[in-house]
Symmetry: D2
Subunit: 171 residues, 4 copies
């Protein structure tokens, strides 16, 4: 099979797999109580209550957080401040990483990179965090933030993040 044929074969296989994974993550949680402990961890992030963020969906390796627009969270043009956009997608990625960690683990953010794709203008915002590669020590995640106005929605941010597991900690 020629290099190009292999490449086409693999590329096709890749799209199929990526597609399937996005529709339904195929990760197996190591912690049977991950969801309960994840929800406790989210509830203990007081900043989430301060800004009005709430946990939406939780699945192994994937977490969604919602936030309603508030004029108290804006930058100089009246859009949601980049730091607040980052706060919800960082938590979504951090808890997505946590969802695949063994019992007794804690999670901390090592670093992230965020592209702000469009002004953060909307009635509601939804941040999604997905695990790209889980690891014993480090987990790499991808995050997206969407702004919702009526029936319209558009992506406003893209994150790539590295999370680290802490042993003998909670959430």
């Amino acid at each position: 099979m020629s290099v190009r044929a292999i490449a086409h074969h693999i590329a096709g296989y890749e799209f199929a797999r990526a597609t399937k994974e996005k529709a339904m993550p195929m990760f197996e949680p190591l912690n049977p109580n991950y969801e309960e402990q994840l929800r406790q961890g989210f509830a203990s992030q007081s900043v989430m209550e301060t800004i009005g963020a709430y946990l939406l969906n939780v699945a192994p390796g994937q977490v969604e957080i919602g936030l309603d627009f508030s004029a108290d969270l804006t930058q100089q043009h009246g859009y949601l401040h980049a730091g607040i956009v980052t706060a919800i997608v960082d938590s979504a990625c951090g808890f997505a990483a946590y969802s695949l960690m063994p019992p007794g683990s804690g999670v901390l953010t090592v670093e992230y990179k965020v592209n702000l794709l469009a002004p953060a203008r909307g009635e509601k915002f939804i941040a999604t965090g997905r695990v790209i590669k889980p690891g014993r020590t480090l987990t790499v995640c991808a995050g997206e933030v969407y702004a919702i106005e009526g029936e319209a929605r558009r992506q406003i941010a893209l994150m790539q993040a590295t999370m680290i597991r802490l042993a003998d900690k909670e959430a």
Copy 2:
């Protein structure tokens, strides 16, 4: 409809759309000759010939580049050096951005972030660049690199990049 219901509705919609986009990109090229000019641009990147990289697939907003392993491109553990992994995925993302630009455009990399997910060990490597958000000035792309050994494949790198359009330039 409650916030959570909206969120579920939107999340489902999102997965559907992301899935569709990944399987078949839905971008319309502005330059009818983008593919020919993109292939000329790739051919004029002498570093690609120097390292032995070749263009595989080209589609509007998506480009794939292949590279065969060579001991001349390794770091101290015998894996492909991160700079070479970055070179092929940067070119894949840059040309993916170029494919959606109007005639007479040139493209330069503003910045990128790369996570190295696993040692770059394999017989062949395939880098994919995809446009996440095209823009008049800036285009944001996502890139992936896969290592191939026989029938096995695994992702070794993830890139998030910002490209800038130059007016009145070629490729």
Copy 3:
């Protein structure tokens, strides 16, 4: 002069210059009223008041923002949430970029990368934003965040950011 001799010469020169620049930035502002307009811009970022952040020092190409610890801004371990750390250093970098832009400019964050170097534990936090390379369209900045406890201080975050100039806007 041999390559190595040139390199030593240049490296020495570099350290000297970097040192001088850090001690006293050498940028010339293009906007005579930059400081007044920058302070207005900061005052109009309602999120800064919400989290209790305040403007400390302003110089051409350099801005410092302070924040006192508050239990309302913490993550699950009681440290300042990464999104809040990011919010103050993003504003410091954005306004540092703004300080070198011509009159009538506005600034938006294109993207940033943040490394969280240590738990954000302290009584106060100081974020510094510095312009590394100003540009007509894009400005690249570096940011640092320090935690202060009594007389002790330590760096808790490092940022590298890209800012974009908007014409005919304010701050």
Copy 4:
């Protein structure tokens, strides 16, 4: 002492320290043979010989690598390809991290972010890697690349990188 007074005091202290550190790094190596082993590690990165890169200066927590321009390493506009710029500054940062690790350590790049500040046009290029925060597992580094033309020099790239220590490995 008022918050602002403390801030000024700390800011001044910071500039002083940063300055001193840049002029003469104050890190103590844990490995008495770090320089010899670092030079062996660099010599075993065959890609460095392939592209013509050479080790310039080595100090605890700081490494400089040089590269002469070659038309074989260029992108479509005749400038050094971003991947090659990244290769030398990634190695500079990786070996800078290695210089502070205990005997028997190896180093791998976890991730990096690179801003390309200006076209990579010049006769020679010098990449500097500096440790910002050493750690038992992770080390955060900052890197810069300079282009040299005759007596002129300018910064063309800025990197922020995370390196990981491997136990019981070499370089």
